[in-house]
Amino acid sequence: MARRLTRISILTAMSLTFFLFEGIFPTPFFLPGMKLGLANVVTVFALYKLENEVDALIILLLRNFLSVIFSGSPTIIFFSLSGGLLSFAAMIFLKRSEKFSVVGVSAAGGFFHNLGQIFCAAVLMESVSVFFYFGALGIFGIVSGIFIGKLANSVKLPK
């Protein structure tokens, strides 16, 4: 139990650090909010390497709530949660199907993360035109998801 708690705590702190670190830099890509999502390396890692899958969800939720406090921008919680939860649901479904490797699952995670955020934007802005962004965002999510999957897979869980 102590080990489980420690791992959740450390991974949450790491995820939050990645999130804030990435936020320091202006987005290098042409769309606002288009970023690699380094914090999700931790989510994918936790989903695959920890004994309990639910721990990955706990880490994701903790990081989302903490990021609101640390970034000082309350509206991002809607985007973080819609993207994060849809992505998590898709990843756990694909992982349990046992038909895909961590790279495929993570690529789908990136795709559904951006899809969730677009849905959230459409609801908040009451506009469907935001979906025109999805061409770029969806593909970008897939590419960053592949990268994140490879990265998460290459890290070992210390005993």
Binding site: L31, S73, T75, F100, S101, G104, G135, I139
Partner: protein
């Protein structure tokens, strides 16, 4: 990476491209929406600067060279300012804290 992964990624890329086929509109106009309702239609052929004031805050909007941009805002994240100038149909600038949406096309 498994063979299934490649198939999954290909399917996801196809889905990403679907919305592009639905784009359309007139790129001479921009529509400004506040809380989802059309507030104003703007002719992008006239250069101008105006201030949009709502209960939530202030955004200064500039129309220049057939492009529209939010040049200043008092929201915390400034995502609308960072978005820069837009000119193509389907492009948008969103200021979520102020519930303002600017989109090209009428």
């Amino acid at each position: 990476m498994k063979k299934n992964d490649a198939a999954l990624i290909a399917v996801l890329i196809l889905f990403s491209l679907v919305p592009i086929f639905f784009a359309g509109g007139d790129k001479n106009f921009a529509v400004v929406k506040i809380s989802g309702k059309v507030f104003r239609k703007i002719d992008l052929n006239e250069n101008k600067i105006f201030t949009l004031e709502t209960d939530a805050g202030k955004n200064i909007i500039e129309v220049k060279d057939k492009k529209i941009a939010v040049i200043s805002a008092d929201c915390p994240d400034k995502i609308c300012v960072k978005a820069g100038a837009i000119k193509n149909v389907g492009e948008i600038i969103a200021c979520v804290p102020h519930e303002i949406l600017i989109e090209i096309g009428d």
